[in-house]
């Protein structure tokens, strides 16, 4: 089968690989019909996530058709069209029972802090991902969710990560009616977080980024104010000024380890890997939020340390919430939102490529070429 193949930092290609096999009685094999490149895939692509092995197939955003099931699979059958949440979760452990499907205890042998994620390094379980024609899907009774009749696979594939993560960013922020919400990062997740902030009753939503085309997109898609931090002397002072020097009620870090905007963070976090990525957005979020406010983190960082003003977290009485998204917990509500037209996930898609052009897709998304917001790849065997 054709699959993406990681060869080293900023080097990927499409190659023929062996078909995945049933390894566990609750496994399924899914024929992939749509697969995306996620912003967090860029951390892998840039070589910033420890234990990212050459030969791995990335891809944690994919949907497809069930082709084969193990003997203990009862919830899906061959031929079902399924959304595959990016987390691999058993559904039975102490954490899954609480709805923390992103923190499963029974899917990742190689690390204890993070659950397992398709195609996201051995630190996140060592599973091959869905940027391929076929993928092994463990715990098929738990994760895969039937795509409702009539739902476009372009919408469905964004329910594997982008929509739930943007929604959870707003949910974790504990937004109260009328709150001012600042979202750092106008990538797909940040744009969706800004859109979802309204669902929780925000009174004002502001998005901060450095790419004008993304800010323009966010203005239209998320109905929010959008500002370019390169046009400010200091983004924190800017936010203080536009909030009567109180600070935002809520700040959302939707950037993570690849953040720009602070040379010291960029050099130590992204170039020298002395930090677990550049924590510029988180730094700004902590300093921009009001006293007693909430910082919600969905931007992904590596497993070591980051330089952030933790003293200000104490002095300002902040609440910080973060987690890998519990996609399965959120899917029922989000499917409703898509079906009734409240959310329009596929409106984020700007580029469609065949899987054979995976290297071009990564470069385009990484370098933000051709006004790229979201890239969807279509494997050659994705006959609907």
């Amino acid at each position: 089968m054709l699959a993406m193949d990681y060869r080293g930092p900023k080097r990927v290609r499409a190659v023929q690989k062996p078909m995945p096999e049933i390894k566990h009685p609750q496994d399924a094999i899914v024929r992939v019909t749509r697969t995306c490149i996620c912003g967090s895939d860029l951390h892998l692509y840039n070589g910033n996530v420890p234990d990212t092995r050459v030969g791995t197939t990335f891809g944690h955003e994919f949907v497809g058709v069930v082709e084969e099931v193990g003997p203990e699979v009862t919830k899906v059958k061959v031929g079902d069209h399924v959304i595959v949440p990016f987390n691999i979760a058993c559904g039975e452990c102490h954490f899954c029972k609480q709805g923390m499907f992103g923190n499963c205890q029974e899917s990742n042998t190689m690390a204890s802090a993070v659950g397992s994620i398709y195609g996201y390094s051995h630190t996140a379980g060592g599973f091959d991902g869905g940027q391929a024609e076929y993928a092994r899907v463990p715990y098929a009774n738990v994760g895969p969710t039937i795509i409702p009749p009539g739902m476009d696979h372009d919408d469905a594939v964004l329910l594997t990560d982008v929509v739930p993560t943007g929604y959870q960013a707003a949910e974790m922020a504990g937004i109260q009616t009328g709150d001012t919400v600042v979202v750092f990062g106008a990538g797909p997740i940040g744009i969706m977080a800004a859109r979802c902030a309204w669902l929780f009753g925000a009174g004002r939503v502001i998005i901060i980024d450095q790419e004008d085309y993304r800010l323009e997109f966010a203005r239209n898609y998320s109905y929010c104010e959008a500002y370019n931090f390169n046009e400010m002397n200091d983004p924190v002072v800017f936010i203080k000024k536009i909030t009567d020097f109180m600070g935002a009620d809520v700040c959302i870090d939707a950037v993570g380890a690849e953040a720009a905007g602070n040379a010291m963070q960029t050099i130590t976090g992204r170039k020298l890997l002395l930090q677990a990525g550049s924590a510029t957005a988180l730094h700004w979020a902590i300093n921009s939020v009001k006293k007693g406010g909430v910082v919600s983190i969905v931007g992904v960082y590596g497993p070591t340390d980051n330089l952030v003003p933790i003293g200000n977290v104490l002095n300002k009485g902040l609440t910080i919430r973060g987690n890998q998204t519990s996609v399965k917990r959120l899917l029922p509500r989000l499917i409703e939102h898509v079906q009734n037209g409240t959310l329009n996930p596929k409106g984020l898609i700007t580029h469609r490529l065949p899987l054979e052009e995976v290297a071009d897709g990564y470069r385009m998304f990484s370098a933000k070429l051709d006004n790229c917001i979201k890239t969807v790849m279509i494997p050659p065997s994705a006959k609907m």
Partner: protein
């Protein structure tokens, strides 16, 4: 000093200000602590172990399912095995893994060559897209890299000449 097991309910004031609504945690379906979970130790069916797995020492066991892609091999595999002797709390775990990743890249190129395949770096890096959409900046970047590389090479190849002159000055030939 020995720690004693006590019943917290015997402590004066235990739980009098407990407020379940004061919950700053991540949103959960049903929040509970381990003692409220009757089968917190229950496990799914286990995947047969048919490949080398590196296990975090912060875990009690191999997870019920696990990925089987790219098991540790070669020099990078040796470094990874060393890293997994230490917990995720230690730089001795993460820094060797980053080193192993870089070694693994070289191993990947050697593997390609051993199979008679010359890696197409231009295509793997997606430079066609830079050429198509970002040509001026791309050419400038490449020219800068080439100029800096050439400068370094020139600097290194001329390194001996000044030192020889210096040597001659300090130790002039016999006259």
């Amino acid at each position: 000093m020995e720690n004693k097991t006590i019943d917290p309910k015997q402590i004066k004031g235990w739980g009098v200000d407990a407020d379940p609504k004061n919950d700053p945690t991540y949103p959960m379906r049903h929040r509970m602590n381990v003692t409220e979970d009757p089968d917190s130790k229950a496990r799914p069916t286990l995947q047969p172990e048919d490949t080398e797995l590196l296990q975090s020492i912060e875990r009690p066991n191999v997870s019920a399912v696990f990925g089987t892609t790219s098991p540790p091999v070669g020099l990078s595999g040796m470094i990874r095995r060393f890293a997994f002797k230490y917990s995720e709390n230690r730089y001795r775990h993460w820094l060797p893994l980053i080193v192993a990743d870089r070694v693994n890249v070289v191993e990947g190129i050697v593997e390609d060559l051993a199979h008679g395949k010359l890696p197409n770096i231009w295509a793997e890096k997606g430079y066609d897209m830079e050429w198509k959409y970002n040509r001026t900046a791309f050419v400038t970047k490449m020219a800068t890299i080439a100029a800096v590389t050439a400068g370094v090479v020139v600097l290194l190849t001329q390194k001996d000449k000044p030192s020889r002159r210096k040597l001659n000055y300090r130790f002039p030939p016999n006259r």
